[in-house]
Symmetry: C2
Subunit: 385 residues, 2 copies
């Protein structure tokens, strides 16, 4: 392997701290070794702390964030269940698709990319039948919209439905008080604000979600993702299910340790502050976030591609000349936005400075006339405030 | 993390070479970075070489070996398909369970633990209806039986059914000539004779299996494991599906490189030779393999626990005094056998010597009177032949 060193400022994976990288290189223990079982317990305890939950069933699924999404839906949805999914980007669409494959009668409540869900439309769809499950995305990775949680979760609870929340991009970067909010079921990924390589998907199931799993008439269609089997392996019984991805779990344990050592509040604030600084710099470059302030995630910003600028050329220049990865648009925003992630270990002023100055250069190559130093000065001013 | 260093001689994971461990600590690339896409292509090419196949759809599933099992079955099995599964251990049972959850009409053809499948019984079950899929395990990890492939695969083909073969424990340790044998669908894991940490599951689908996937009336019930979507991500289109487990794939690329540098023939012979040497040492200790010679896998040996010996005490002594992990029995062999794996990086004389001498000490503690040095001498004699 002879790999270039790239600063990862796309929609994920984010840069991984050296402590996590080297933890993944530790010699393996057996997956049923007592020392490894202790490490698993530590991971569960740290996940509960990071999510502010007491849910016993809080564990990392042995797959990527999408496996976490699938795990939540295939365990909760039974054939014919009415499932309402809020769709304001690619990942809401994916929830709907997985819900249908799981046998659900899925109702999609769609709004345009860049908008948060419409609460009245959601309410209407939820009330329009005996709705069992309502899914939506907290931080839409395809747009960078941060969905306000309180009101929507309250309506779902009031309707007697179960909430499933995608926290892939928000976990460890924005507040998620699972128990206080009354979220029934949540999944995340490791490669965003947690800054651990992709490959694991933390999930948490609350008591009402567990009750639905326990009352299933037919077994979960997936054996690999069956929560009742996973719970027996991760629980005190330690019933062998599959061989856990040991090296990846070393990385997760270390990454969670770093998050808790920094402190959750401090980490959330860091993301907010760095996101703000970046936005000020963007404005100075004449660039415009595609999501309005107040609805925007601090950790992931979609930027409108200005008229006359070649979207792909800019990304290629950043990658090849400056060794910086940023993302392109997905779905209906393909070719229309760049996505810049300032997540986890990458949420720092050195990233902001590097990406602003590279963007400035790329825009100048594209015929714009912008000043890197002004943009950096604006970002630094905002950061200092 | 403050982890003990344990020699992994159980049923997996096996010890991981330092090159693979350090590859996993390399800084991440983005999952759509051109350099990462090249690495993915290299992995696919090396997997094809290691399996002696030209199947385009040869790739690592982003999950453990059991996810590979599930991927093969949920893509191939449609509701109502007749599925015959040969069961001679825990992993055959698991195939049957997953086949049922996928909607198959599963017929289990069972023989006792420690026996290979009965070809006449398999033939009878296959002929007893329009059988679409026949699944079985090449090297049963719960017993250490190596199923002869040729005759059984011929019968499956003749009946017009598709074969699904579990090669989790045999891959890179025993010959698998996928195309020459005419296997339709195969899955494996990384943590056995390949000596890469658990977390990925190489699979390969041949033309007849791909045709069945393409002709499905309903989509694959799993979105995460949907071969048509995975094929578009790993294929030339590079359509984003999920974020690949990048660090784990660095490990896999490096591990496959080591296998091919050693040479497949040489690696298979090493496993045979080391397994033989170990068996000679066991005999000298008065221990008896639970599977008869000729049916036994060289990489994993089940050993009968002698009368009057506490199975668990011996394993604990090996773990705590000698820092060696061996496995206990599963299913109907729970408490009745030990399972010793000499797999991949662990298939070497130093492992044989360490485990024989530790077993000798543990047996003496249990009141037997055996000689470590005699056992080691026997193993070395067999190795030298």
């Amino acid at each position: 392997m002879n790999l270039p060193e790239i600063l990862l400022l796309g929609p994920g994976p984010s840069p991984v701290p050296p402590e996590v990288l080297s933890a993944q290189a530790a010699p393996l223990l057996g997956h049923l070794d007592p020392a490894f079982l202790s490490l698993m317990e530590g991971i569960q305890a740290d996940l509960r702390t990071a999510l502010a939950t007491a849910n016993p069933l809080t564990l990392p699924i042995s797959g990527t964030g999408s496996a976490g999404m699938e795990a939540c839906l295939v365990n909760l949805v039974e054939h014919g269940d009415r499932v309402v999914i809020g769709v304001n980007g690619v990942f809401g669409k994916r929830m709907a698709e997985i819900g249908r494959r799981a046998g659900g009668e899925v109702v999609e409540v769609e709004v345009p990319f860049g908008r948060p869900l419409d609460l009245e439309e959601m309410q209407h769809a939820i009330d329009d039948g005996p709705t069992r499950i309502v899914g939506f995305v907290h931080a839409e990775t395809s747009t960078g919209v941060l969905q306000p949680l309180d009101d929507l979760l309250g309506r779902i609870k009031e309707a007697g439905a179960l909430s499933v929340v995608d926290c892939v991009t928000s976990f460890c970067g924005a507040p998620i008080q699972l128990d206080a909010l009354g979220i029934d079921c949540l999944y995340s990924g490791t490669q965003k604000c947690l800054s651990v390589p992709p490959g694991l998907a933390p999930v948490s199931f609350g008591p009402r979600a567990m009750a639905k799993v326990a009352e299933r008439a037919s077994p979960c269609p997936s054996w690999y993702l069956d929560l009742s089997l996973l719970g027996s392996y991760w629980g005190s019984e330690r019933v062998y299910h599959h061989t856990a991805p040991i090296a990846a779990l070393y990385g997760l344990a270390t990454g969670l340790g770093l998050v808790l050592a920094e402190g959750l509040e401090a980490r959330w604030q860091r993301h907010t502050k760095i996101g703000n600084a970046f936005w000020q710099g963007l404005t100075a470059l004449g660039l415009e976030p595609a999501v309005e302030a107040g609805l925007r995630t601090p950790m992931l910003t979609s930027i409108r591609v200005p008229d006359g600028v070649d979207e792909l050329n800019v990304r290629k220049r950043l990658r090849d000349v400056y060794q910086i990865e940023i993302g392109g648009g997905l779905g209906e925003w393909k070719g229309r936005v760049w996505r810049v992630g300032l997540m986890g270990h990458g949420a720092r002023m050195s990233s902001v400075v590097r990406v602003l100055s590279a963007l400035a250069d790329a825009l100048n190559v594209e015929g714009k006339s912008v000043s890197a130093s002004e943009a950096i000065a604006e970002a630094e001013r905002a950061f200092g405030d």
